[in-house]
Structures are given as structure tokens and as C-alpha cells.
């Protein structure tokens, strides 16, 4: 089992916790280490408690874990809230001038006057974060050079003075700990022999995947947890020749993306559940007009405004059934940052191949967590069927065996047609003919009947006395739980659903047949995937581990439940 060291920083919103966490994570990934960086924050800009925890290991780590080995407390509340998470001999770094911390037997208290050091070295108390980062690296006996490099990159373009103040304050924090607390700490991290790893959030992975897949038009409306994707795409607009439009609302966002896609530009929108509610009519429009469209759906705890900054997987059945009427849709459920990248590329290819909306389901947990990837390979672009100018007798919605009809585009000579939200004939003109209606529904539905989509994966041994089932962001915790179970002699495998529509009935039936216990792990109240599995295969999942408090699963919870189920 991989040995993981976990560092955590906490403080009031506005203290720069997220930036500090991202810098620390990158200092680790630059050293060839794997990182999973997870943040918690309230829906506030100032005040309220923020935290960021980075689980660091030489081996792949796909989720936050317990316990915490080094805690940086930028205020007293951080100690109170997180001391229960600490391992024995965990280090607690805090500013004694600002925060009084009572004696904590069994833990190492590391008083470092962040504010005083920051003011002395940089003339700015604002640099306290950097002091804390430097102190953390010293406590962990890690490489200060890596941290300083990352800080330098972070402030590149802001002038030498800014870079100097930031790096010097970090270095001062490092020196302070080295001088005052030499060689006292149990938990250490070390540079790995492997080269620097890629460190991305889920939102960045989707954005990079979209650009790699040739996405040229992105329209969206800010909504946690997908705003990061909007920001990322906007930041790449100039370099990659995109148009990124922050629309007036989600209705406009999806309709703009449909308009752009209709002209032939690969197009995308993204939102969370609440915004998706507004996009539903547009989803049906894309289905009816056979417009290739990619929608990234980053779930958070609902219904209504819900818990805006917390995770949940409660929109699966909504997305599978959203819109009136029937049309084919593809719903992908990537499980980690790497899968988000490749699934997004796939989503664009599938959307164009089948001329229908493709929805990428993810959630706050992977959207905003930072995770390392060894490498990203070059990707295949598969273009859909298209016609050239002046195609004789061209019919946009021609009846074909596969249901897929080649596309033409406005501006081409001679291929005039209508895309129509009304039921239509092969040219696109409105019709209410019973025969045409029936034929057209069948044509659209036929498109996915024989679609081949890599749709599920069995991790672990082919045969095991217990099978875990999950989709999306629970992958990391489930895989970690499997390792823990294996180390204790409990054999388990894991069915990961990566495409939920069209549903791979045969594959799932084959994997789940038999009477052994099956434990489904979902971040929702009712076990939505369990219902979907039953709907398609008739197989009832025997056990459910459900969580809907806005928090992601920890591997320990899954391990415990799996052991209980296996014993029954």
C-alpha cells in the first residue's frame, strides 16, 4: 500500500488558502510525486472557513485521505476544526502572535510567527502564506528549491519585486523552522526519481481536452463548480483561436453553442445542476436538430441552490431523463482528472459522429480538486460525415441505415436545408405526417443502437467475493479502499461505469451476475446508479453506501462498509 503524507492548510476565506494549496501541490508534483489536492470552502468571498489538503505519495493517489500529518493553521478555528483529523506526532504549524494554541499532547507544535517574518522580509503581512509554505517544506524536510521555483512561476509577469518578496518570505519561513526546530519531525516527503508530473484540476482537464479535440466555441454562465472551466477556456481564447462567450444566462449559453455547432465549429457549454435546469429545452433542441453538442455537467449538492460549493452525484437520473420527448443522448462519467481529459476528447468525437448531445458528468469533487497525471498522449480526432458543396439532391435528414445523415453547413453552395425544432422531413421542413414522424423518431433513435462506446471497466481481480460499484469521482476513494482491503486480505473488485447512456446492458449483466454481495458507492441519497442498473439489467444491487452531506467519500468509509458487507 502506498505511503501517503498529507498536508493541510486552513484559515479564513480571503487568506489565500487555495493559492497556497495549489502552490504546495505543484511543488510536490514538480518533484515527481503524485498529489491529490482537495479544497473545502463555503459560498462566501470573505470570512468563513477554507481549507486545502494535499495527499502526497510516490504512487498514484486519487483522493483525500485521513489522517492529516502536517496542519498549517492560519487561525485558531483551523486547529479546533481539524485536530480530530491529525495523526499521532502530526505537526501543527501556527503563528503564536496571532493564534493561541493550547498544549496538544502527542502532536508537534511548531510556532512560526508568519506575520512578523512576512513583515520583516517583505514588508507585507500579506506574505504570511508564503512563510507558512516555506515552514511546511522545512517540517516535511522537502526541497525548498522546488517551492521557490513554483512561486517564481506563479508570479511571473508581475515584476521582479513581487517575485522577490514572495520567494524571500517563503525562504524565511523555511530557514526559521530549520533553525529553531532542527530534525524534529516524523513525516517527510522526498523528491521522486521520476520527472515532474502534470498537475491539473478536473475543470482544467476538461478544458485541455476540449481544446485538443478542436473545440472552437465555448459559451457558459458562471456557476460553481464549473466556473473554473469558463475561466480556463477564457484564458486560452487568444492562444488557441477560440471564442469564449459568457452569455446572459444558461438558456442563451446552450442556444449559442447550438448555433455555433450548426455552422460546423466544435462547440461546448458547461454548467451545474441549477443551470442545467435552464438548459434542458436546449438539450432537446440539439437532439431534435441532430446538432453535435458537448455539455459538461459539474454536479453539486441540490436541489435548488443547495450547497453551492460542496459535492454530490444526485443529478444522474435528471440528466438521463432531462427534456420532454425521446432522443438519443450520450452520458459519460469519467472518474478522475486523466479520464476527464480523454472523455472530453471522446465526447467531441462522439457528438460529431452521432450528431447528438453528449453530456460529461462530473462533480465538485473532481472539478476543483488538483490531481497528478504522468503524461497526456496525443489524441485521435474523428470527424463526422459531411458533404461538399452542391451535393445533388442533398437531404440533411436523409433516412439511412445507421440513422446518421451527412451534415452540410450554412454558407456552402447549393445544400440548402432547415434545422427544425418541429418534427420534419428529410429536407428539414415541418411535417405532421404519421409515417414521417415515426420514421424520423426511429432514424434518430437508431443512431446509438449500435454505438460502440467504452462504457465500463472492471478493476481488480475478475472474480472476487465482493464487487464495489461506482461512477464518476468516487473512483479515487474506491480504488484506495480496494488497496486497503487487499492489504488486510479482503479481495474485492470494482465495476466503474464510465458511460451510462447508452447503457452497456450485456457487459454489466455479465459482470454482476451471481449471488456475491455488491456494494454501490454513490454521493446521493437514493442510489441513482443502482436504480439505473436495475432498470437495464434487472439486477438489484444488494448494498448501498450513500453519502449526501456534501462531502466526498474517504477510502476508510468504503473499506469499513465493504468489510461489513463481506462478513455478512
Amino acid at each position: 500500500m502506498a505511503s501517503i503524507v498529507q498536508w493541510k492548510i486552513g484559515g479564513e476565506a480571503g487568506f489565500g488558502i487555495m493559492t497556497a494549496g495549489a502552490i504546495f501541490s505543484k511543488a510536490c508534483s514538480r518533484g515527481g510525486l503524485h498529489v491529490f489536492g482537495y479544497s473545502e470552502y463555503p459560498s462566501l468571498i470573505r470570512g468563513g472557513h477554507n481549507s486545502f489538503q494535499a495527499a502526497v505519495s510516490e504512487e498514484k493517489v486519487g483522493c483525500q485521505v485521513t489522517p492529516v500529518n502536517v496542519l498549517v493553521a492560519l487561525n485558531r478555528e483551523t486547529v479546533d476544526l481539524h485536530k480530530g483529523e491529525l495523526s499521532r506526532e502530526a505537526a501543527v504549524i501556527f503563528d503564536p502572535d496571532k493564534t493561541s494554541v493550547d498544549k496538544m499532547p502527542g502532536f508537534k507544535l511548531v510556532p512560526v510567527p508568519f506575520a512578523r517574518i512576512a513583515t520583516e522580509t517583505a514588508g507585507l503581512e500579506l506574505m504570511s502564506n508564503n512563510v507558512a509554505l516555506g515552514a511546511s517544506v522545512a517540517v516535511l524536510d522537502y526541497d525548498i528549491g522546488l517551492l521557490l521555483d513554483v512561486i517564481r512561476d506563479q508570479f511571473k509577469g508581475k515584476g521582479e519585486d513581487v517575485i522577490r518578496k514572495n520567494t524571500e518570505s517563503a525562504n524565511a519561513g523555511y530557514e526559521y523552522v530549520k533553525k529553531n526546530f532542527p530534525g524534529k519531525f516524523k513525516y517527510k516527503i522526498q523528491r521522486a526519481k521520476s520527472p515532474a508530473k502534470i498537475l491539473m484540476t478536473g475543470n482544467e482537464a476538461i478544458g485541455a481536452g476540449a481544446i485538443a479535440a478542436g473545440c472552437k466555441f465555448y459559451s457558459g454562465y458562471p456557476m460553481t463548480p464549473t466556473s473554473g472551466l469558463l475561466h480556463f477556456m477564457a484564458s486560452q481564447e487568444r492562444k488557441y483561436g477560440l471564442i469564449v462567450k459568457h452569455a446572459e444566462d444558461e438558456i442563451s449559453a446552450i442556444n449559442m453553442a447550438i448555433g455555433a455547432a450548426h455552422t460546423g465549429a466544435r462547440s461546448m457549454t458547461a454548467t451545474s445542476g441549477g443551470g442545467f435546469c435552464l438548459m434542458v429545452e436546449g438539450l432537446g433542441l440539439a437532439g431534435m436538430t441532430e446538432t453535435p453538442l458537448v455539455i459538461a455537467m459539474g454536479q453539486r449538492a441540490g436541489p435548488s441552490t443547495g450547497l453551492p460549493t460542496w459535492t454530490e452525484q444526485s443529478d444522474l437520473k435528471f440528466v438521463l431523463n432531462a427534456s420532454h420527448g425521446e432522443f438519443p443522448r450520450i452520458v459519460l462519467a469519467p472518474g478522475d482528472v486523466e479520464e476527464l481529459f480523454y472523455s472530453t476528447v471522446k465526447a467531441f468525437n462522439l457528438a460529431e459522429k452521432y450528431q447528438t448531445p453528449v453530456i460529461i458528468m462530473y462533480d465538485k469533487h473532481i472539478a476543483e480538486s488538483h490531481c497528478t497525471v504522468d503524461s497526456i498522449e496525443s489524441v485521435e480526432i474523428e470527424e463526422g460525415l459531411k458533404v461538399g458543396e452542391n451535393t445533388p439532391g442533398y437531404k440533411r435528414y436523409q433516412f439511412t441505415k445507421t440513422g446518421v445523415s451527412p451534415r452540410a453547413f450554412p454558407g456552402q453552395k447549393g445544400n440548402f436545408f432547415i434545422a427544425n425544432s418541429d418534427e420534419h422531413d428529410e429536407k428539414g421542413h415541418s411535417t405532421e405526417s404519421a409515417e414521417l414522424r415515426k420514421a424520423m423518431v426511429e432514424k434518430r433513435m437508431r443512431k446509438l443502437e449500435h454505438a460502440e462506446i467504452d462504457s465500463c471497466r472492471l478493476h481488480g481481480p475478475k472474480k472476487a467475493p465482493i464487487t464495489l460499484i461506482g461512477w464518476g469521482s468516487t473512483k479515487g476513494a474506491i480504488k484506495q479502499a480496494m488497496e486497503r482491503l487487499a492489504s488486510k486480505g479482503v479481495k474485492a473488485n470494482f465495476l466503474q461505469m464510465t458511460c451510462i447512456s447508452p447503457f452497456p446492458e450485456k457487459m454489466v449483466s455479465a459482470i454482476l451476475k451471481g449471488k456475491r454481495p455488491k456494494l454501490i458507492v454513490e454521493n446521493n441519497y437514493s442510489g441513482q446508479l443502482a436504480f439505473v442498473i436495475c432498470e437495464h439489467t434487472g439486477i438489484q444491487v444488494s448494498h448501498k453506501l450513500l453519502k449526501f452531506d456534501g462531502r466526498p467519500f474517504y477510502p476508510e468509509e468504503i473499506e469499513l462498509e465493504a468489510k461489513k458487507v463481506a462478513r455478512k
Binding site: A247, N255, A261, H262, K413, I418
Partner: protein, 276 residues
């Protein structure tokens, strides 16, 4: 110019103002030098939307209220298209009002033609945002309590760079307005008084003929004058209220190419390396 008729016989009620708007659009296309394939029409839902079946150019019948955002996305992705959104008063001033307000701020180069018949025709006669106060309809049997909105004043205040009004009873004049609107660089609104012979027995051809007059000699570069004229109630001016030259949205975005013709394959090695 190619034949612009699909050959499908229009299904509007005999005498409907939509016939005249349809022929004005075809005349306007004939009066301009752009090839037929350069036009992209979006339509909303309502009687006006049936035009998608009659006009043989590239088109997209969207959802109720959404011809503008689909048109905007298309124009941003392919700036070579002449984009025209055909809509109705319920469509763009009711269901899709937010899109109407925001495109005016953007000044995307497209033309919005609103079939303003002051009644919901396709749903068999209910009050719309432009119905007169007191208008009795199936949804307001005692007469509507609300004031009608004034789309022309709204557009002048909203920052539209071309604001005009036509009348379905004067197709030659309407054709010239459409030509001016399409040639205008930026967002153009052409609101059209369109009698509904079946469900609106107040705002009839006769009623309009007695009220409308053609604007002549007005200072179309003066927003305040345009606003004052747009508020006239006793007589109803038609013609161009306001126009100004301004940069379009698409002239100001970072990417100055037509997205739809760009190669799909994109090398992202640098981008990936930036995450190390």
C-alpha cells in the same frame, strides 16, 4: 438570384401580415448582391416561424424565444454569414426578452425582424407584451391590466445601433428597411406592425393605415430625438428612428477568423507542459 421559394404553400390565414413580411424579405434579398448561401435565417416559434418552410435559404427554426442566441452563436462562429433572426412579439419581447436586451449591448452584426401582431396567433389569441392596455383576449377576458412595452423606445435606450419600424401594409417600404438593416454593420432591429386578421380585431390594417406615417428628415443620429419620436402615440411613425456606426462585438473579440473553417486538430503540447 435563385428561386427563394421552397414550393411549400404558406399556411398563414388569408390576409395575414406575414405574407407581406415574407415577400418583403424575398424582395430585400433580391435587392442585395449577396449570394443566397450567405444568408442564415433563424426563426422562433409562432406564426412567423412557419416561414422556415417557405423560404429556401439556410435556416434554423429554434425554440420559442431563442432565435437570437442561436443566431448569435452562428454569427460568432461564421462571421461570413448574413444572419437574420425572424421572430414575433411573444417570441422576442416575451419569452426571449433577455436575449433582446443583451444583443443590443453586444452589437453583434445581425438583423432581427419582429412580426409584431400584438397577439399570440399560433396559440389562438392571447395577450402579448405589446397588446394595448385593456386588450381582451382568451387569457385576459376582462382586458389586460398591463401597459404595453414599446420595443422601439426599448431598443433606442438599450443601445441598439439600428432601430426601425415597418408596416406589413407597405411591403415596398419594409423591403427597403430590411435592406438597410442587413447592410447595417451591427445589430439591427426591424419591428413590423403586422395585422393579425384572425385574433386581433383592434389593430387592423384599417387602424394602422389611419395611424402610421413615414419618417422623413428626422435626425437618425440623435438618440434623444429618436426616443422622443418613438414615444408618439396618436400617430405611429414607421421608418428608421436611429442608426449609428459602432464597432461590432465580433470585431472586438480576440479571435478574428471564422471558427467553422478552422482545422480541428490542435496541438496542445505547450498547454500540457504548462501544467508540469
Amino acid at each position: 438570384m435563385k428561386n427563394l421559394d421552397t414550393g411549400i404553400f404558406p399556411t398563414w390565414c388569408p390576409g395575414c401580415g406575414d405574407f407581406a413580411i415574407f415577400s418583403s424579405i424575398k424582395n430585400a434579398i433580391g435587392m442585395m448582391d449577396y449570394p443566397a448561401e450567405s444568408y442564415f435565417f433563424t426563426y422562433g416559434i409562432g406564426c412567423h416561424g412557419h416561414m422556415c418552410n417557405f423560404l429556401d435559404v439556410y435556416g434554423f427554426e429554434t425554440l420559442h424565444g431563442r432565435p437570437l442566441p442561436v443566431a448569435e452563436g452562428a454569427k460568432l462562429a461564421n462571421r461570413d454569414l448574413n444572419v437574420i433572426a425572424v421572430s414575433g412579439d411573444g417570441d422576442s419581447y416575451g419569452e426571449g426578452i433577455s436575449h433582446f436586451m443583451h444583443i443590443m449591448r453586444r452589437n453583434i452584426d445581425l438583423t432581427l425582424i419582429v412580426h409584431n401582431n400584438r397577439v399570440y396567433g399560433l396559440t389562438t389569441g392571447q395577450v402579448t407584451p405589446t397588446s394595448q392596455k385593456g386588450f381582451r383576449s382568451k387569457s385576459t377576458p376582462d382586458g389586460t391590466i398591463e401597459q404595453p412595452m414599446n420595443p422601439i423606445s426599448t431598443a433606442i435606450l438599450g443601445g441598439a445601433t439600428f432601430v426601425a419600424r415597418g408596416f406589413a401594409g407597405d411591403p415596398a417600404h419594409l423591403s427597403s428597411l430590411i435592406v438597410e438593416g442587413v447592410k447595417h454593420k451591427g445589430f439591427a432591429l426591424i419591428d413590423v406592425f403586422q395585422p393579425c386578421v384572425t385574433f386581433n380585431h383592434i389593430n387592423t390594417y384599417q387602424w394602422y393605415r389611419e395611424k402610421v406615417y413615414k419618417l422623413e428628415g428626422n435626425n437618425t443620429s440623435d438618440r434623444m430625438e429618436a426616443l422622443r419620436i418613438s414615444m408618439e402615440q396618436d400617430k405611429l411613425p414607421i421608418g428608421i428612428f436611429f442608426r449609428e456606426e459602432a464597432k461590432t462585438y465580433e470585431e472586438q473579440v480576440a479571435t478574428q477568423v471564422s471558427l467553422s473553417s478552422e482545422p480541428v486538430k490542435t496541438d496542445i503540447k505547450d498547454l500540457i507542459e504548462s501544467f508540469r
